[in-house]
Amino acid sequence: MRNKAVWLRAAAGLSVAALVLSACSQKENTGTGGNEGGEEQAKPSSGWEETPDIEIQEGKQGGTFRLGITEPTAIDPYNAQESEGILVSQQLFTGLIKVDPDGEPLPGVADKWENNEDCTEWTFDLKTGTKFHNGEEVNAEAFKRGWERVAAKKSASEVAYHLAGIEGFDQMQAGTAKALSGVDASDPAKLVVKLTEPNCEFFLRTNHPVYSPVPTTAGDPATNTAFVESPIGNGPFMMDGKWEHDRGIKLKRFDDYGAGDPAYLDTVEITITANGNQDEYAGFENGTFDWARMPVPVLSQARSTYLDQDKWITRNTNGMNYLLVMVTKKPTDSVEARKAISMAINRDEIINSIFQGSQTPATSFVPPVFEDAFQADVCDACEFNLDEAKKLAEEAGLTEGTALTMQFNVDAGHDEWMAAVKDQLETNLGLKISMTSVPFPDLLDNERQPDAAGLYRSAWGADYPTPENFLTPLLSTTAIGAGPTEPATGDNKGRYSNTKFDDLLAEAKSNPDEAERTRLYQEAEKIAIGDDLALIPLWNRTQHRLVNSEKFINARMDFNENPDLSVISVK
């Protein structure tokens, strides 16, 4: 007994001693054990290419399409917000226009639209005879009703701001008006909209579900919860039963769909999963779902399995991932400093190791999904260049040991890559970085403060299919919304301000010629990103999906990254 104890202790002591001796000096962590199966890693990749666009073929009626989403905040257009809610809302309702997967506008309920000379008045000619799911007529009054339902202060819609700019909106939000004075629905086949200031791209906004028409049965969303739970719309699909919270939503085809071609699918089964991407992927693999998103860790194995089976979709979509920079505060208040930081970040390395190559490094701020406005190399500082970075850092006074703060939002999967960026900047530029992660509302709050400094993780998805929605809200002076000693109220929290930039955007807003507007956006981007690097673009928003192409044709992603349910069909 005594000996045993002695033995035990000796053994313990020896093992500790062994550890100490074997690891006395800490080793350098520089193995290249090679990653999984050693496929396409280690060499700089430019991300996975987009899969070719799907040809839309003639389909046939029938079939059930199944997918999984997380519980939406709302499916009623008055408050539908995130992509899940918008998915359902856009199948239940059709607005004035639709957009194709590339963001190009198509007729919806309106088959023509015209603006007046200075783009302050818009006239939409509506198709006649189209109906709601309950048989009611869809006319100009239905649109006015829907918009007022959103704008009413009592409704407290979180997405009402999309209607800003329509005459009467501010009064409705303040509770002083009960109607939108700028919307004229006296002619049932014509909707006339007056704006408070020129906007030559107003029609693009009407694609958002918030602009949907509603039947007379809709009522006040605060009291008529039956409608909110089970909306009656005019879209290609209608509710089959009610919304079973945390369980699922069932849709069935609306045979009298008037604002376009009727859908092919009989039903759509939308299961509500709690675990998001992990569940969708597992569900796709076990045959439960016909469409799925994937969690980042499984992307490359999923791609190698499904790409050859034609079940894989990759698309660059309407968004950009970047670092928000406080351009008026040290140490990032000079162009040289910002470019030095940007060039010291090896985007390829992070993409390959943490994202398994599934993202595409950004070379611009306006994403490539806007084919006309996209400028492939406008961001010259987005390319990794250590020598140039060090040079610029010296010029900027960004010496070794300079303090820099970085912040991001917790529990959104950003921990790893932000840590990687921090590590790169510390190693490559010798900066002393303090990084914190906070809940998202705190992050936004911190960004607004007048004394905010350093870098903040950000992403932006445009609400409307136009580059303007990237440039103005994030970089124009008015989008700061406050003086230098007050918290910023707009989305330009970095407080970039350049009058030339502002002028170009103002000009574009009142220019009815699309090509001219595109040119102006490009010039503006050259200034803000090319010259001044007001934000540090990291990688494009790229989305990957799995689809059961064995059973279905026409299964493509729409502009909002959702399956384009109205054209999907069984084989």
């Binding site: 500790v16 100490v20 006395c24 962590n29 054990g33 992927y281 943490i354 921990d415 790893e416 914190t436």
Partner: protein
């Protein structure tokens, strides 16, 4: 409605709502004969040593403590050192436990996590014991108003679902190791207080206390010299288990996303990160190693506590 603090091995759940049974009767003689004291300890130690599980637990605890103290010296890699070219590798000669998603050595990370776990565990134990026993003793001895006040205060803390309390505290103080320890202390002291109070209640009515009072001994003297040494026993035993409980609680909080900053290699966080990789075949080691570590820690402390209880139990003498 406590969630995380799991009942200890010896007294399942009783400490929560019910006063623990009077498992250790107070000894009759109270004269502190120094010779007797020394041989008392030798006695206890001898009994403890006979218990193989307890000894095993103690050895493991000892090894862990040594490892944690020596961590900066013996860690093969810097636990924060990233290597983006070598991520998610299974265990090999260089990296005994493999690497995580940033290519950091998992073994070094777990060593660091061990240090954190022990620091938080011990400080939580000390904090809750000190606060808990003091308040519990006052409540038990004085009775009436202080008792009511203190007991109702413990009620407030015990009634709160532990998760909410922890989140509120951590969010108020910011993320980090200290707020987690504070949160666990705040959630843990009521149990210690109740334990102590129960002991107090039964011991203060005993005859020798009456005797001491009758010869004019002051309250403090009575408490300190006569009651406390006996009352402290079950609390002392419980404190060992509570270290394991604190480690589990910290890991559970980290699993739910509350607690230390995200890139800290704390065991709960490591499990959380490992779970994200769970659909990729061959990556189970990422969550299994930290889970195993938590188990080992909890069990070791529990065995020691068990052994102590058996060794101190007069009935078995």
């Amino acid at each position: 409605m406590t969630t995380t603090p799991e009942p200890d091995l010896s007294m399942p759940a009783q400490a929560v709502l019910v006063e623990p049974p009077d498992s250790s009767t107070p000894e009759a003689p109270t004269l502190q004969d120094p010779h007797k004291k020394r041989s008392q300890f030798a006695d206890i130690w001898r009994r403890f040593r006979r218990n193989k599980l307890a000894m095993g637990g103690m050895v493991v605890v000892a090894i862990m403590v040594v490892l944690a103290i020596l961590q900066p010296l013996i860690s093969p890699f810097d636990p924060y050192d990233q290597n983006l070219l070598n991520t998610l590798q299974p265990p090999d000669a260089d990296h005994w436990f493999g690497t995580d998603i940033l290519g950091r050595d998992l073994f070094s990370g777990m060593l660091y996590g061990l240090k954190l776990a022990l620091i938080v565990g011990v400080s939580t134990m000390l904090g809750s014991m000190i606060i808990g026993t003091t308040l519990g003793a006052i409540a038990g001895y004085r009775g009436r108003f202080s008792d009511g006040l203190i007991m109702r205060t413990t009620d407030i803390f015990l009634a709160f679902p532990a998760l909410i309390g922890a989140i509120l505290i951590v969010r108020t103080f910011g993320s980090g190791v200290a707020p987690v320890a504070i949160a666990l202390i705040v959630l843990g002291w009521p149990t210690a207080a109740r334990l102590m109070r129960g002991q107090m209640l039964s011991l203060r009515e005993s005859e020798y206390v009456e005797a001491a009072r009758s010869i004019g001994a002051s309250d403090t003297r009575i408490v300190m010299r006569h009651i406390l040494p006996n009352a402290i026993q079950p609390v002392f035993i419980y404190s060992f288990t509570s270290i394991g409980v604190a480690v589990v609680a910290m890991a559970s909080l980290a699993y739910l996303g509350v607690g230390v900053p995200p890139d800290t290699p704390e065991w709960g966080r490591l499990i959380n990160q490992g779970i994200e990789q769970v659909q990729v075949p061959g990556k189970d080691f990422l969550w299994m190693f930290p889970s195993g570590a938590i188990c080992l820690t909890t069990l070791s402390f529990a065995f020691v506590a068990d052994g102590l209880r058996d060794a101190l139990d007069p009935k078995l003498r």
